[in-house]
Assembly symmetry: C3
């Protein structure tokens, strides 16, 4: 971390929060609520963690309004409207800077003379850029990246090392793409032909719009025809699989190890939690939320919440989830009734 010092009062001002307790406490860094020391700042964004707050040694804690009455013995509190957002701001203040990617083309990079390189671009060691590729102003192409023929990389986009973008795919502006990502591998399509499986040509591209982030080792396949389309502001975690001709709506969130089968279409603001899956050729409306590990097999309207495999509504999921205990109760009641009938017969 950077060796800077900030007072509780100064931090409260920066995050636009309400200070409770001393404004003079000096902070040298940030930490989790369990590990934080007296000269560190931490955060608690949910009342259910009040015990952790109580036990913490953190000198300054960003808290939600529900915790405004917590003890200020040995600490100052800063009440924030959006604790996570405020904490992210403070973290950034103390953070060591990430490396600076040097502008220019490293001598070991292999850049086609037929590629078009923008201004203030950083092309790092052993990167390969093929003919017809276009790299936007201020973009960073990490070491060992492969940028295929006629690929377009937008202004200000950052490709970390060892990313592969295959021919003709398009990446928008200000995207962040982590190592090992593969954009534009062939979609998976085979048809039983007269002599075994025949490959279906995958002639389309991948189009990624602006402000998209893609996590390490995620794969996004090129379309059978037309495009696989990741719209702007979509955030994708590691090891996610996006199949051919899928469309992901703006600001959707795809958490680690989820997968989306061919030609599925997701609306705006959809959230697929970790390890979930979406069948091919179905549609998820705006704001649909899919629970972790769930497998969605049919289209869902906007705002739906889906759990389980095959995915169901919360009500259906709970009905299924509580079956064992409900079954035990019914069985007990059945045995009681059976006994009652036997007694009735005996009493005749």
């Amino acid at each position: 971390m950077n060796s800077i010092t900030l007072s509780a009062g100064k931090i409260a001002e920066m995050v636009n929060g309400k200070l409770i307790g001393s404004a003079e406490r000096q902070i040298h860094g940030v930490s989790g609520i369990k590990d934080a020391k007296a000269d560190q700042l931490s955060f608690v964004s949910n009342k259910k963690y009040d015990k952790l707050l109580e036990a913490s040694k953190a000198g300054v804690v960003l808290v939600c309004a529900d915790l405004a009455n917590a003890s200020t013995e040995n600490r100052s509190l800063i009440v924030c409207e959006n604790v996570d957002y405020a904490f992210a701001k403070v973290v950034a203040l103390f953070a060591e800077e990430p490396p600076v990617w040097p502008v220019g083309i490293h001598p070991s990079a292999v850049v086609s003379p037929e590629a078009k390189i923008g201004r203030q671009v950083s092309i790092n060691a052993n990167a390969v850029i093929e003919a017809g590729a276009e790299i936007g102003d201020g973009a960073v192409i990490g070491a060992g990246c492969y940028i295929g023929h006629e690929v377009k990389i937008g202004d200000g986009t950052l490709l970390y090392p060892n990313v592969t973008v295959m021919y003709r795919c398009k990446v928008g502006r200000k995207c962040i793409i982590h190592p090992g990502v593969v954009i534009g591998g062939d979609g998976f399509g085979f048809i039983p032909g007269p002599q075994g499986l025949v490959k279906v040509p995958q002639t389309g591209i991948v189009q990624i719009d602006d402000d998209v982030e893609i996590g390490a080792n995620t794969t996004i396949d090129r379309a059978r025809f037309g495009k696989t389309w990741i719209k702007s502001n979509v955030k994708i975690d590691n090891q996610v699989m996006v199949a051919h001709n899928v469309v992901i709506g703006e600001s959707s969130i795809l958490v680690a190890q989820c997968g989306i089968a061919g030609s599925a279409e997701l609306g705006r603001g959809v959230v697929l939690a970790a390890k979930s899956g979406v069948n091919g050729h179905i549609t998820l409306g705006d704001g649909v939320q899919v629970a972790g590990t769930s497998g969605v097999v049919k289209s869902l309207p906007a705002g739906a919440i889906a759990l389980g495999t095959p995915a169901e509504s919360q009500r259906e999921f709970m009905a299924r989830y509580t079956l064992p205990s409900r079954f035990e109760k019914l069985q007990a009641k059945f045995e009681a009734l059976k006994k009652e009938l036997a007694e009735l017969k005996a009493s005749r």
Copy 2:
């Protein structure tokens, strides 16, 4: 897409289909049934999508026999025996050509003088080929690929960029391997020894036969001894995990994010749908089909269909799946019976 124009009549001839409607309609490209315009061709391969066909603006549509009576107002239909196969042919006609991989060794590639390079081979920028490796005639080694010691790559095989093939593994002829694939990492084996976990040496190889396709970021581990074996014509999607000593039978299909544990053996024509898993040391007979996300824990005979986790037959799966509604019915019937008994007792 290529800027070519084809008439409905000409296309019907090429796909050996039956034309219904005008033969003169001119087509400049292909598209999905929802998005297609009047000068584009599309396809509908299942009667259940008849509404989409009705609403479509596509000028020419390849359809299955069930849809031969659909309206030909503003469109021509071409009835095909295998719509998918026919459409793939038309897509290929309009498709832009993929890049040509230049024959020769790029000056930035690092090729051991002890490697054996065939004729008409394309070794691209920054590829690394170790001593004893053999690259077959007409093979393409993409930029940044790593070909380990004594690896064999068959004639006509295409490795896209950034593929890793570790020492002594064998890849057959006419295979297609997408970026980020790792062939021949160590199998995962540890034994509790006297002083903690001891690594079990993984001394075998991976053998991949002819005409195999492997999707981006898939990993296939080397055997503990002997070989992990992918037989000919197997098609593997992205992010699939094949563990050590697994055997995959001819023409099997492994869909994205599925995984197969050590020493499992799959017969011919097995289909593992997306995200499914197969336990170690079990056998799946020819033609077994495993549903998406299912986890198979015991061996299955040829032709079996397995769903759920632990995977069951369709009958068992449906019995389990329909439990909540069957339970509700039983509960209602129980309450009715209880009431009946109470009435009976009251009436005595």
Copy 3:
């Protein structure tokens, strides 16, 4: 395999086992029990495979004590306390040596003059090592690896080709890291801000302690602050996802395609079987075992065994798993009772 020959007697001595049958049988290699020939050694470590032993042609078989009375016709048996461990020793004897990684810096590698390279280090073709990185004595940096700014790689650690270690992360001594692994990509964190999703800076690192093995294409994200921490002796399989700020205790085993969400903490000796998942911000005690494909949603005490999604105890899981058959029985009993009541009413 190496062309060496060993007698049954010699092997029994080497693995400290009890020989039953001829000491003179000559062995030229090892194989699985089904495929082994008369001049090969194999193993059977569990009595349930006695049929395979009976049918095997292997000349020498390592067996557990339970199988000491098996037939020695055409074979010798060696009874071992730990069959797997003994077999691993024999496999190693016959195994061909893995490639030797040459000491020195390959001329095509790009090594910053500000990096600190230890003694007897092997830096292979096209590897990239950034400023401030430190490579320990005897370490191997495989072809195409990327070692970021200020990264530390411990003594004797082996990075196979195409591994990516991002800035400031630390890898301990004698680790083995397989191709395609990404260490130190950003953790996945976004906060709904005033104008859409705002990236939370991921300012921490990944710290990997000694003797850790990491399988192909696994990803381990850098911490939001502080560190994501893989403690010593942890063994990680392929395509595993470890999110930011996770802590994995000593000697834990993470099997292929499992995933651990942000800030979860695992104790010592935890086993996550294939494709399992662990929710964020929960704690698994020492020795917890999670079954394959299971999704753990709440903290578990030391020694717990968890199955299913949401994960339950074995007892709960079995209660749920056996519901269909128990339901059928209750239904049958219900129908019998209903009939009984009807008869009673009719007889009045």
